[in-house]
Symmetry: C2
Subunit: 485 residues, 2 copies
């Protein structure tokens, strides 16, 4: 035991100094099988200052107003630290199914989502260790009876414990199914027999030590997939080439339309049903594509108290210590909020791809990771509207030159903009792949022909109105009495 | 107007590039005086991507379980950005007093706290601009009637508006008092007449521009106070010299006491009344003073699901962009949580003072800032227990040498520890001043004679038990029926 403890402490130290990856430990299983005791012991053996234990109990209202995974994202350990999840993303799917609140098909969908999520975490460098504490039905019954007999521990057994015990077989069947389906190569389950405390503790300690040492001493060498299907599109067509970039709107017509759609958007966001949804506008586009101007035309229709703009720049130090989607999860809108992302998670498959900030394997897997992410947003009642502001290479040049002339626009043009321009074709290619692979039914891209600013702004406002209107139509509010007119 | 807009945009750009200070804009005043319109206009004039508007409405339950100022701390803008607070730390004190929910004395206490808070923000480099929108009683009545007359706007006037109108005189009297008392040199109120929209907008725009330009073009040069009262203590006594460092506990006695007080602590944290309080342990001490070991003896008595350890190291990039107390506010325990800070906000008057990481003026003002901070914690039902682990210079040398010998302790000793040791006297002086100035009745320091680890650990556990026990005795739970035994 002292040797194991010393080895664990050493591994923990190496993790914080050279390993530099996050460690996620999931603790699940049967009540009374020693989950709590084991977690306490890990804290005793190792340096508890670098272990974060998360008991995922009742959701706070902030958590309720976000997608279910939000509370786990906000609790993920950064690189170099260990996060222990006591109650995890498995709890709700399994328990809901045991209580027959969900269907078998829903459970399987949840399981698939979990597999995607854990794959993404391990691809991002996280070490996941999943412990399932087991106790046979007999042992469980004996334990409850023993606790009840002892006057000192009688209080620990409540009615709910016996009710749960009655569902033992059902719980076992469903959790075995879930475990089988989620015991992946990257993150297998380790089933720990809970009866004998000594055996249990040693097993957990040794498995943890082995896993840590293996990853610290033999860092994963990631290999790019050998097939590179993105290098040659079959049809050699680019979605951007199909756009009619000559589309225009006269200034007078624009002013009329602007008032019309800003008014409409304003009314939509003040609709009582808006309290049940939220809006996330994802704005991407060429440099000088007119994102800033478009944002201002949208926000002018809104009350400043109800929207937030999230300008996406280089990630901060805290953000770099997390999976790349983490910094976007931070700003997912709560119910009835309206968030506008000025650049988005698509940076992964645009600038990070073109500038080689991440490996080919990294940006290739990002397409499906992003689709999973967006699915969760939409499932949670978020109206996700994605725009690509397209301009031609000539129009960009004209705007760059113009910006260099005008006083208060001077800060909008930098050396970097000129450098990016040289990679026009690579970016164009990346945009095409992005639209191909992430324009899903639930979250389609709207390509905006933005050579003419008037045309672009109206298209954006109009699309927003349509999408929000359609979402509101699906909302039914409970009838209320005594409302003041 | 276009000139003003361009100047504001330029100022905003300079703020993000060279100014690099946070800007807090408070928007308060009479309903209907144009608060919302003005904020919308600021967003239209400037780049809304770098303005964060916070409408402080109903508290979420996470906010309810923290001290009242927590929600404002979490929303403070970082350096280079503008935060607009719509509804601020003035709202609750003023409204509660108007509704007679609090006494005049309570309002004055709130006002004093606000002044301290704003002084701290400005001392930390924040530019605070406070706008109060005024509307005469007549104008207010006319406005409500006009809104009611127009079929398009009738819905905007609700019963509550007229009820509030009846309290106009009371509201005016109380807010005038609050404004007068909080119109300080650092953060004066600017009263804006709300009747005429054009006048109002221009006034706000110009005042904002002037304030921004002044601070950007003439950065504050902070002057240390000319008197340096800390340089020569009158009694030439050091509180550390008075400790009886020879105190010891036999190993056998220790083991008995350890079990006793760990058991007691465990029971205390499982007391139903514990759900109404929370515990914050602040641990400071000499290098090698035994903080880690003490923490492990405390956490061994607790359930890992219910405590959090916050190891305090160098601030992150996001933390450096905020006032120094911000990073501690992040980890203030919610109701029924037990948080242990391994080093604390006292770093400001210890390492930052001795190593000259901040100016003398900065650490001198920290004493009262910290007292204000701790007052808020205690007022919110947090049991704050502060320990200083004192060892002698000789004992430290012995431990340093021992650590260099023992395998799994090797990482506990660094070059820096040896360097700090050379400044032993300066640190001793700083500790003495710290204890003198921050050992308040509500949050006293417990000095722990830690040459003997056994003695130290028991003293810490015992003190913790006493403090928590005393706090629980003050809690009364509402009677409950039908509770399962």
């Amino acid at each position: 035991m002292p040797a194991l403890r010393e080895a664990l402490l050493n591994a923990q130290f190496d993790l914080s100094q050279k390993g530099k990856f996050p460690v996620v430990i999931l603790v699940g299983g049967v009540d009374g099988a020693g989950k709590g005791e084991t977690v306490n012991l890990l804290n005793e053996w190792m340096d508890p200052r670098y272990i974060q234990v998360h008991a995922m109990g009742e959701k706070t209202d902030e958590e309720q107003q976000h997608p279910p995974m939000w509370r786990f994202w906000r609790a993920l350990p950064p690189k170099g630290k260990i996060g222990v999840f006591f109650g995890s993303w498995y709890t709700t799917p399994i328990v809901s199914r045991v209580l027959k609140q969900t269907t078998a098909a829903a459970l399987d969908r949840d399981i698939e989502q979990i597999n995607h999520f854990e794959k993404m975490l391990t691809d991002e460098g996280t070490l996941i260790i999943k412990f399932w504490f087991h106790l046979s039905k007999d042992a469980q019954q004996k334990r409850l009876k023993a606790l009840e007999k002892n006057p000192d521990t009688r209080w620990r057994v409540i009615k709910l414990d016996w009710e749960r015990f009655k569902m033992y077989d059902k719980f076992r069947k469903i959790s075995e199914h879930a475990l089988r389906e989620t015991s992946t190569a990257e993150a297998p389950w380790i089933v720990v027999e809970g009866v004998d405390a000594r055996y249990r503790n040693l097993t957990v300690g040794q498995i943890l030590l082995e896993a840590l040492r293996k990853r610290i001493d033999h860092p994963v060498i990631r290999v790019a997939p050998d097939a590179a299907p993105l290098n040659a599109p079959i049809d050699k067509l680019n979605v951007l080439d199909k756009l009619d970039m000559a589309q225009k709107l006269e200034k007078k017509k624009f002013e009329v339309e602007l008032e019309k759609y800003q008014g409409k958007l304003n009314l939509l966001t003040r609709d009582p049903r808006f309290s049940k949804i939220s809006v996330l506008v994802a704005l991407e586009g060429s440099d000088a594509g007119g994102k800033g101007g478009a944002i201002r035309r949208v926000t002018a229709a809104l009350d400043a108290r109800h929207y937030h703009i999230i300008p996406v720049a280089a990630p901060t130090e805290e953000e770099r210590a997390q999976p790349y989607l983490w910094r976007f999860w931070r700003y997912i809108p709560r119910r009835s909020h309206f968030n506008i992302f000025d650049r988005t998670w698509y940076g992964r498959v645009l600038v990070e791809r073109v500038e080689k900030y991440c490996s080919e394997a990294d940006w290739m897997r990002a397409y499906s990771e992003i689709n999973d992410f967006e699915q969760q947003l939409v499932d949670n009642g978020i109206v996700l509207v994605k725009f690509w502001l397209a301009i031609t290479k000539e129009e960009q040049l004209r705007r760059f030159k113009e910006r260099e002339q005008i006083g208060f626009k001077r800060f909008k043009i930098t050396e970097e903009d000129w450098r990016n321009r040289e990679k026009w074709d690579a970016y164009k290619r990346a945009v095409c792949d992005m639209v191909d692979r992430t324009s899903t039914e639930i979250a389609p891209w709207t390509l905006v022909e933005a050579n003419d600013k008037y045309f672009a702004r109206i298209k954006i406002l109009k699309t927003l109105c349509q999408r929000i209107d359609a979402a509101l139509k699906k909302v039914t509010l409970p009838p209320k009495n005594g409302l003041h007119s």
